[in-house]
């Protein structure tokens, strides 16, 4: 299937995002782990709520692999509600009546921050694979540039799930004095072999699509939709638990009462995955997907501290609330426990809950009452400790 580049609404956000944009010129390049400097740099971001006079109520929300800055507003491409409306909004745990909430598209993304679909000013064509490899720390450095740009010294909280949780951990390790509280959710301090393996399957699916054109599909008016859709289908399985899939789909057939003995989408689960794959390609750039998955694979926080995760958090004053979900097999409870043990060993203030749910990894995006209650309790207590006024009675 061929989709002319300028017809996909998703990719229009690359150059003209429905967001605020911070521009960083040649005087302020992003120094990247891969050794390169990225300049100019654009960061697309959303804010919600009001920054208080002493700038002490800012919460940075970090998004996951295929998330973006549209945390709590209608998505400009899909028209769907923001991806974290269960957590962010008036009266929600991340209460936009109390806090100033910032969320930016990560470096390497495709929703307005500089990424592989952005124009490379030195060649006049999209970066494609010419964009230096992006790491979680690069994403966090760029976010710190944005926070500086907004004139905020210390964030009241940095919160995020999955790849967003990795950014939270990186923030706490790199800028401990700038993070009052941290909520790493459904995440890990390093990518496991299994995590890398699943990502590699996704990347190979994209690169095996003839329309990928060695990453230069945008100039050639192509989109590797089939490869990207397969990558999304494989990844989507890892976001759900076996139990949840069984409860929702079981072996139910799709629009038929008996098997047709064909390779149609016979089963409902097949139909569901195909839909997830096809709707994803409408809003996401294939090269961005390669970069995002790679950034996660390279993530190993302890490696930067001589192999000791405890050293990464030594002497941290940040208050941590680590959350895992017991049916999450992508970033399992044991990965969160490893973070907790390191924080304890480093003497940090840490709370930890393993939420019981059958929703799998995706639980952090869903209305799971125990998770919402924990988050609210943690943030309310942290706000008291920070001297922020209590919530308005609603």
């Amino acid at each position: 299937m061929t989709v002319p580049v300028n017809k996909t609404a998703g990719l229009r956000e690359v150059d003209a995002p429905h967001s605020l944009v911070a521009h960083f010129g040649p005087d302020r390049p992003l120094a990247m782990d891969a050794g390169a400097e990225l300049s100019p740099l654009r960061i697309a971001y959303q804010t919600y709520g009001v920054l208080n006079a002493d700038k002490s109520n800012a919460i940075l929300v970090c998004h996951a692999l295929t998330g973006d800055q549209h945390v709590a507003n209608e998505h400009p491409v899909t028209g769907k509600p923001g991806w974290w409306q269960t957590m962010v909004g008036p009266g929600r745990p991340i209460d936009t009546d109390r806090y100033f909430v910032i969320s930016s598209n990560v470096v390497g993304g495709c929703m307005g921050t500089t990424g592989p679909a952005s124009l490379n000013p030195s060649t006049g064509r999209p970066y494609g694979l010419e964009l230096p490899m992006v790491t979680i720390r690069d994403m966090v450095r760029a976010q710190a540039m944005l926070i500086d740009h907004l004139g905020i010294e210390t964030l009241f909280c940095v919160a995020g799930g999955s790849m967003g949780g990795m950014q939270v951990l990186q923030w706490a390790a790199t800028y401990p004095e700038r993070v009052f509280a941290a909520m790493p959710i459904a995440t890990a301090a390093k990518h496991s072999s299994q995590n890398i393996a699943f990502h590699e399957v996704g990347r190979q699916a994209v690169m095996a699509d003839p329309d990928w054109r060695k990453g230069r599909y945008l100039e050639e008016g192509q989109i590797p939709t089939k490869g990207l859709a397969v990558a999304r289908m494989a990844a989507h399985i890892t976001y759900l638990s076996d139990e949840a899939l069984q409860n929702k789909f079981g072996r139910k057939l799709q629009d038929r009462t008996a098997p047709t003995f064909s390779f149609d989408a016979e089963f409902q689960i097949e139909n569901y995955l195909r839909y997830q794959g096809m709707s994803f390609v409408d809003r996401f750039d294939a090269n961005s997907y390669l970069y995002m998955t790679r950034a996660c694979d390279y993530f190993d926080l302890a490696a930067d501290y001589g192999g000791s995760l405890a050293l990464a958090f030594k002497g941290a004053k940040t208050r941590f609330c680590v959350v895992s979900f017991n049916s999450d097999w992508l970033y399992p409870t044991s990965a969160s426990r490893a973070i907790v043990h390191a924080l304890n060993a480093g003497g940090a203030s840490v709370s930890f809950v393993d939420i019981e749910t059958d929703r799998g990894h995706d639980a952090f995006l869903l209305n799971v009452p125990d998770f919402i209650a924990t988050s609210r309790g943690f943030l309310d207590a942290a706000a008291r400790a920070r001297g922020l006024p209590p919530a308005r009675t609603r």
Partner: protein, 217 residues
């Protein structure tokens, strides 16, 4: 109460025993110290210590409900248990490690106590005394597993798998080369016994509260 009524008695989840020992435990903790409360429940003791004594209070709690209650109070509490989660703490990380009414429910009481003495300068342990005369009498005369107001569970549903007497506990402390700094036995109403001799504790104390320290070498 006859054996028949005991067996047939409806057995809803027994109410948590009253934590009569909290104030006494708090009294054994110096102000502004670092405390880890293992099995901290809803955080009542930690909050007391944080608010009254300026203690840096941390906890471990098994139940989701308990952890959420603690987190909402601003306490730093992790979900876990004494048997598996003490190993992750470094030596000497705390001034006091507290274990209230939980020792008898652990799988490895000796290892738990060893970890407590490794992690903390002091270990504070409170536990039900299985040497109390009322308990002895229920076995000796009644011929059945004891149940008291503080230990209401039936034998087949009790979480308490490693009961000990105060005498046993003192012997274990000796085995671990720990020094008993303070010891108190409480009566059934949670009041300290007037006389403090180990044999009196062992016979008349419903609970023992002990503060141990690693022996100085």
């Amino acid at each position: 109460m006859s054996d028949a009524t005991l067996v047939n008695a409806p057995s809803p989840t027994p109410p948590a025993p009253p934590r009569v020992d909290l104030l006494l435990v708090a009294d054994m903790v110096k102000p502004n110290s670092r405390v880890l409360d293992v099995g901290c429940g809803d955080g009542a003791l930690l909050r007391l210590l944080a608010e009254e004594k300026g203690v840096d209070a941390r906890g471990i709690e098994l139940s989701q409900r308990g952890v959420n209650d603690c987190v909402a109070k601003g306490l730093s509490v992790i979900q876990g248990d004494a048997d598996t989660d003490l190993a992750g703490y470094p030596d000497g990380a705390f001034d006091y490690v507290i274990l209230s009414q939980t020792l008898q429910a652990t799988r490895q009481p000796k290892q738990v106590l060893e970890h407590m003495l490794r992690i903390g300068q002091h270990a504070i342990v409170s536990f039900p005394n299985f040497g109390h005369w009322r308990i002895r009498a229920q076995i000796a005369v009644g011929g059945h597993m004891p149940r008291t107001r503080n230990l209401p569970s039936l034998w087949y549903e009790t979480p308490n798998i490693h009961f000990c007497t105060i005498q046993d506990f003192i012997a274990l402390a000796k085995t671990l080369d720990a020094r008993i700094e303070r010891g108190v036995a409480l009566d059934r109403f949670g009041k300290p016994l007037a006389y403090s001799a180990p044999w009196i504790w062992n016979f008349f104390g419903e609970q023992g509260v002990f503060r141990l320290a690693r022996k100085r070498r």
